[in-house]
């Protein structure tokens, strides 16, 4: 096995694991979210090392670029902005650690048991194995197209073999989206746009004053009928 690949692999693994540990140990919750992004990017780099380009890029696009941004956004909108001094470790953290170790062992032990002799195979070795299998399936001659799980195969699988699960997931996500919009929108059904301070003042001068609750938030007039 090539030492360059091995070195890169260990460096990337150290980056990924180190940032993963930082996610669960740092006090500042925003720092934790930023470390999470680093973990996602590390995992994407590992995919890239295995020459799974599409998977790596989707990992960056979805996890590092979208999910973590939403996490950060949600933290900033809901908590006090500083986010310092959050205690992350529960007093029974070792239970969680044991569970995680057991789950990881449950995956890794059978894999090593089954594939133990081929753990140091690189992508080119895997390619060679694929070529060999395809040649055997073709009756001894090397076929022109070697099946590798690329973008096209993924797309064909999603649109063919796994069409039903795909559609079910899409429907579920749509339902979640509509639910979120309903929850967020109910309070704003009356208010069509945010008024500027000058407009609020003009309204107040004309005697049209918005009903406010004690904290100063605007109470929609027809909220009771809406519920």
């Amino acid at each position: 096995m090539n030492y360059v690949v091995l070195t890169i692999f260990f460096l990337l693994s150290a980056l990924t694991l180190g940032s993963g540990i930082m996610v669960v140990t740092v006090k500042n919750i925003i720092h934790a979210a930023l470390w999470l992004i680093s973990t996602f990017v590390g995992v994407a780099a590992l995919y890239m090392l295995m020459e799974a380009e599409f998977l790596a890029i989707v990992q960056v696009l979805v996890y590092a670029g979208a999910v973590s941004i939403l996490v950060l956004f949600a933290i900033m909108l809901t908590r006090q902005i500083t986010g310092t001094g959050t205690r992350q470790l529960h007093s029974r953290w070792w239970v969680a650690m044991l569970t995680a170790a057991a789950l990881f062992g449950g995956v890794i032990v059978p894999t090593v048991w089954q594939q133990g002799s081929s753990w140091d195979k690189t992508a080119s070795d895997a390619q060679a194995i694929l070529v060999q299998q395809a040649t055997e399936a073709n009756g001894g001659t090397r076929p022109e197209i070697i099946p590798v799980a690329g973008t096209e195969e993924l797309g064909a699988a999603l649109m063919g073999e796994y069409l039903l699960p795909f559609e079910v997931v899409s429907l579920l996500l749509t339902a979640a989206l509509i639910g979120a919009i309903l929850i967020a929108f109910e309070e704003r059904t009356r208010r069509r746009r945010v008024l500027t301070l000058a407009e609020e003042l003009a309204l107040r001068k004309r005697g049209i004053v918005e009903p406010h609750d004690e904290e100063g938030a605007v109470v929609p007039v027809d909220a009771e009928q809406a519920v």
């Binding site: 360059v4 902005i81 080119s124 003009a202």
Partner: protein, 407 residues
């Protein structure tokens, strides 16, 4: 496709050397392009406003960006006392890194730095990391205006990434590939004029992509994250000297990248009349010339918009993305599928062959029918979206009527 584990050591060193040369060329080219763009934008906008713009340093003021680079480098580097030092420092690094990574796959004319099979996705994955830098700058500065700017920026980026990526889908359907190399070479038909923008679906995709790209590059009228008149300078508020310059570098390099991408995806990249006829070297040079003309024309359009259109309000920004751009882009994906079916399907749909003949690049009947059908669908979609979004007088709240906002 190379498998580097089997490459011998000397070949491996060669690969590294070639990569280093490529990276250096791209970085220098990108930075010089950014410097040129700042000068170009200032001169162009000055003429629109009946001024002269920077014209003292060097011929026509061309060396103005150099003098400004020296100025920013010699300025004091300030970090606010209560800022999160590490995050504050890393934010411009993340921004610039995200931009520079995108240049790894963006073609220059018919020259391709690297031919990733999923190049188009790669560009938008790494530029999506921009938002991380923006949030880091906004939060790390420990400044209310910076935080507001960062939040605005992220909301804008997340909203406009959807129409941006959806506007790309028609191009991927038309070319059948995610690789920029394939997309550019497939636009070389018809004497170098097979650009995707010349079909109704491509035109719709181009216009929607251009609008979304304005928002992604924080160009006016979408420069809401750094709206000076509202929130000082947004997430840039607490940055000065070289860090500020790095933000600007990343911003203009993003705009350059977006112009390059639009020129490659919609305007045929380096394809034009005579490129294939002139051979590899001369044709390659000609393709570079065509490419830069297209990219600069697109950038001029951006400057023109900056010189004429006022900034949007935040709620208008969101409404525009979700209520206007997204439906049109979705309908466009649908009509692209129809376009592909009418122009390409032979054995898949016998009925088309019976009506219009075999699919071929000189079967003009098929293309004519496809143009008419998709044009009708897209125009209907635009009309319907405009009709739905037009506000009825009965929609106005009593506040708005009292304020005289009915118009």
């Amino acid at each position: 496709m190379t498998y580097w584990p089997v490459i011998a050591v000397d070949a491996w060193i060669g690969l590294v050397l070639v990569s280093i040369i490529k990276v250096t060329l791209i970085l220098v080219g990108g930075s010089l392009g950014m410097m040129f763009l700042t000068w170009y934008e200032r001169r162009a906008i000055a003429y629109m406003q009946d001024r002269r713009g920077p014209n003292r340093v060097g011929p026509q003021g061309l060396l103005q960006p150099v003098s400004e680079a020296i100025k920013t480098m010699t300025k004091e580097d300030i970090t606010p006392l209560d800022a999160d030092r590490v995050v504050h420092f890393l934010a411009p690094v993340v921004m610039l890194g995200a931009t520079v990574l995108a240049f790894a796959v963006i073609p220059w004319g018919n020259l391709f730095p690297s031919s990733l099979r999923v190049g188009v996705l790669f560009i938008f994955a790494v530029t999506g990391l921009h938002t991380v830098g923006m949030l880091m700058a906004g939060w790390g500065s420990n400044n209310k205006f910076a935080l507001l700017g960062g939040m605005r920026g992220v909301a804008q980026m997340v909203s406009y990434e959807i129409p941006l990526l959806m506007a790309l889908l028609p191009i991927i359907l038309l070319s059948g590939s995610l690789s920029l190399t394939d997309i550019v070479t497939r636009q070389g038909d018809w004497y170098g004029f097979g650009w995707y923008v010349f079909s109704p679906v491509g035109l719709t995709a181009f216009i929607t992509f251009f609008i979304a790209a304005l928002a992604e590059g924080e160009r006016t009228p979408f420069d809401i994250p750094e709206a000076d008149s509202e929130i000082v300078a947004g997430y840039l508020t607490e940055y000065g000297g070289m860090k500020f310059a790095v933000f600007y570098l990343s911003n203009y390099m993003t705009n350059l990248a977006l112009c390059f991408i639009m020129a490659s995806l919609f305007l045929g990249g380096g394809n034009g009349p005579g490129v294939t006829a002139l051979g590899t070297v001369l044709g390659g040079l000609l393709s570079l010339v065509y490419f830069f003309i297209k990219a600069l024309a697109l950038f001029f359009l951006m400057v023109l918009i900056r010189g004429t259109v006022p900034r949007l309000r935040v709620d208008q920004l969101m409404g525009f993305a979700w209520k206007f751009l997204l439906p049109i882009v979705l309908v466009n994906v649908f009509s692209t599928a129809i376009w592909v079916a009418i122009t390409r399907w032979g054995p898949q749909a016998q009925i088309f062959t019976d009506w219009f003949g075999e699919p071929a690049s000189d079967n003009y009947l098929r293309y004519g029918v496809a143009i008419v059908v998709t044009l009708i669908i897209n125009l209907l979609a635009v009309y319907a979206v405009m009709r739905i979004n037009r506000r009825q007088p009965s929609d106005l709240t009593e506040e708005e009527i009292a304020l005289g906002l009915a118009g």
